[in-house]
């Protein structure tokens, strides 16, 4: 005799079709000012991208990971979280960081290779970008554990890519979050590619959302280029997590329209036709079309926004570049709370070498 002992399903949610028409009534929260704000955030994130790539091309920024085409995911994460939540991002979420109060100047500093860019004046408890793929998922579990132990109504959000879902530490963190009912929302920014490896080669699992099922909680797919659907799903998941309902996973289906980083040439592994198809899903054009159709957005609004974003980005880039590098001793001065005497000699040698060079 055989009984079915487990069964699961994965839902997919979208409110805005690629052409901007609403395929379902938007949740009440999404009034004109809210939608305009979300739109502004996405446009700012893209303006930062454009400037960052330009600076990298002219040698004024290090290798940069653009988020072109994925702005809705990051902006929705930032917008759905409240100040007291904590963001544990990977490296393509500057849109979320901006919404949470990380400044454009801090972002430019970080990507220009200056640690001070991680000393956010705004969200003091947010983690900085994580480069070793997926290794930040356990940190998010630790942050969520802290909230739970202190009985605080707060949640952590951990964002990572489709490639990261192949890593053990990501699954380990999900497994723990399920076992301990942690207030933690996982967001998979499934942009279909992990550098040159396509999503289908990453796993035979039909969805990445279903990976949550093995960890004992629900996962869902959301149109990752529909900022409304993303915000809605995130707010529900975060409200539930803060109320003690445990973790949740959102697989945001999106697409990386640009290169993996400024050091990558995506034409080596995917053709223009594929990229062109996905441009039709562009989250920014989608929301603009929706806003315009609602009568909540004009050509003048658009021009004013673009001008404002460009000016802010230019000013921040200028300020970041104007900031003198830290003194050499900074290499040592943040390593430990108090520099161990054993390192005093090395620090002095570096400072001396610097002085000799000057």
């Amino acid at each position: 005799m055989t009984d079915r002992v487990a069964d699961f399903h994965v839902d997919f949610t979208r409110f805005l079709a690629p052409d901007g028409t609403a395929v379902a009534p938007l949740p009440g929260f999404f009034d004109d000012p809210t939608l305009r704000r979300l739109y502004g955030h996405m446009v700012l994130a893209r303006a930062f991208d454009t400037k960052a790539i330009a600076l990298q091309r002219t040698g004024r920024l290090g290798t940069y990971a653009p988020s072109l085409g994925q702005e809705a995911v990051a902006v929705a994460v930032g917008a759905a979280m409240v100040d007291t939540d904590v963001l544990v991002p990977s490296f393509r979420e500057h849109g979320a960081q901006l919404v949470r109060g990380v400044t454009l100047q801090e972002l430019f500093l970080f990507w220009a290779g200056d640690e001070r860019g991680n000393d956010f004046a705004g969200p003091r408890q947010d983690f900085p970008v994580c480069i070793p793929v997926g290794s930040h998922a356990p940190h998010a579990a630790g942050v969520a554990l802290a909230f739970k132990l202190r009985r605080e109504a707060r949640a952590a959000v951990c964002v990572f890519g489709d490639g990261a879902t192949s890593k053990g530490d990501v699954y380990e963190a999900m497994n723990l979050a399920g076992a301990w009912t942690l207030p933690l929302v996982f967001v998979v920014a499934n942009n279909q590619w992990a550098i040159s490896v396509r999503r289908a080669h990453q796993t035979a699992a039909r969805t990445l959302a279903q990976k949550a099922v093995a960890a004992g909680f629900a996962g869902e797919q959301v149109d990752g280029n529909d900022v409304v659907a993303l915000c809605h799903a995130l707010r529900q998941a975060l409200d539930r997590a803060r109320a003690g309902g445990g973790p949740h996973l959102i697989e945001a289906l999106t697409y990386r329209l640009g290169d993996h980083t400024t050091a990558d040439d995506a034409s080596r592994y995917r053709d223009d036709e594929e990229v062109g198809r996905h441009w039709k899903e562009d989250p920014i054009a989608r929301l603009r079309a929706h806003l315009t159709a609602r009568g909540a957005w004009t050509r003048d609004d658009e021009e004013a926004l673009l001008t404002d974003c460009a000016a802010r980005v230019e000013a921040a880039a200028r300020d970041a570049q104007a900031l003198a590098p830290e003194p050499a001793a900074a290499l040592f001065d943040h390593l430990y709370a108090t520099l161990p005497p054993a390192l005093a000699g090395q620090r002095a040698a570096l400072v001396q070498a610097e002085a000799d060079h000057a």
Binding site: V86, N118, P138, H139, G142, L149, L176
Partner: protein, 326 residues
């Protein structure tokens, strides 16, 4: 006050730290109900409750990263690994995160965590249960690597490690867990980190060691004493950052140095000590620096482990050899 073993001293220090600071939490595999495979966390669950003593799922990389996250939130996690051989998945978290978080956020987020693990051979344990790769951790910037060698030192060093605002890898010589008892007053006094301890003064020869090999090294010093050779024994205790001053001062006096460790010879931590002597103590030396270490082999199964681990005889042979240099 009854004398206690090293593992009981670890337990005492954990209880003390938890009682004095409610940010201290303990987690790992089997640490709660079971009190840890070596019973180092015995009784903590009953005393401090399930919010502060937590059994994690079986995943070392996970709970090392968990410690990073919860420490960044202001807790002071002490994570227990059952054996050092199972710490390797956690190396990613130690090197890429724990040791870097303070620096890369310019002090905004910090990592006051302790990762405890029993290390070393000599207890006839199965494969992978007898490793000594402290030098892997000693290579990591931004952390401390601490190795106690007695019950009193374990108590004091562990308290200091837990109170320290930066990450500490705390390696416990499991061969000494129950080897001897010592009176350890539960006075909450921490032992200094970043310092070597001179366990036995001497003028003819310096023996530098740490952890489990302190026992064999002290035995060797006693035997040398009977031969009229006064050996000074230094317990390094904190491998990183290394207190070279104490070692150099000793060698300035004795002119001879044998470094003893259980880990394999090549790129073992003894190489670092020898290099420091070459840098800053060369003209004090009357003889070559010798290392007595595990062979550059795989740690053998228990039937052969005594052939791997340096014994008093090998320490004595090295010391006697150095005494030939006038």
């Amino acid at each position: 006050m009854p004398d206690i073993t090293l593992v009981e001293a670890v337990n005492l220090a954990l209880a003390r730290a938890m009682a004095e600071d409610d940010r201290v939490i303990v987690f790992g595999e089997d640490v709660a109900v079971d009190g840890g495979v070596f019973r180092a966390t015995d009784g903590l669950l009953a005393r401090f409750g399930p919010d502060r003593v937590l059994d994690t799922p079986l995943s070392e990389g996970l709970f090392a990263g968990l410690a990073v996250g919860v420490a960044a939130q202001g807790f002071r996690p002490v994570a227990e690994f059952q054996f050092m051989g199972f710490m390797l998945p956690a190396l990613d978290q130690v090197m890429n995160h724990a040791g870097r978080l303070r620096n890369r956020t310019r002090g905004r987020l910090t990592c006051p965590l302790v990762l405890r693990a029993p290390y070393g051979g000599g207890i006839h344990a199965p494969e992978h249960h007898s490793e000594s790769f402290e030098s892997l951790f000693a290579h990591v910037p931004g952390i401390r690597v601490v190795v106690p060698s007695s019950p009193a030192r374990a108590y004091g060093l562990l308290l200091s490690a837990i109170r320290d605002p930066d990450p500490v890898v705390f390696l416990e010589p499991k061969r000494l867990y129950r080897a001897r008892r010592q009176e350890v007053p539960d006075d909450g006094a921490g032992a200094p980190l970043d310092r070597c301890f001179v366990l036995r003064p001497g003028t003819d020869l310096t023996l530098v060691t740490w952890g489990a090999m302190v026992a064999e090294t002290l035995d060797a010093a006693q035997a040398l004493d009977r031969e009229g050779v006064a050996a000074e024994v230094i317990d390094v205790a904190t491998l990183k950052p290394l207190d070279t001053d104490t070692i150099l001062a000793s060698v300035a006096k004795t002119g001879r140095c044998v470094i003893v460790h259980e880990a394999a010879l090549t790129a073992g931590f003894g190489a670092e000590v020898a290099a420091r002597l070459a840098d800053d103590g060369l003209f004090d030396l009357r003889a070559p620096v010798r290392r007595v270490a595990g062979w550059d082999t795989v740690m053998p199964y228990p039937r052969q482990e005594r052939r791997y681990m340096p014994g008093t005889d090998r320490i004595l042979a090295a010391a006697r050899g150095l005494m030939e240099y006038a």
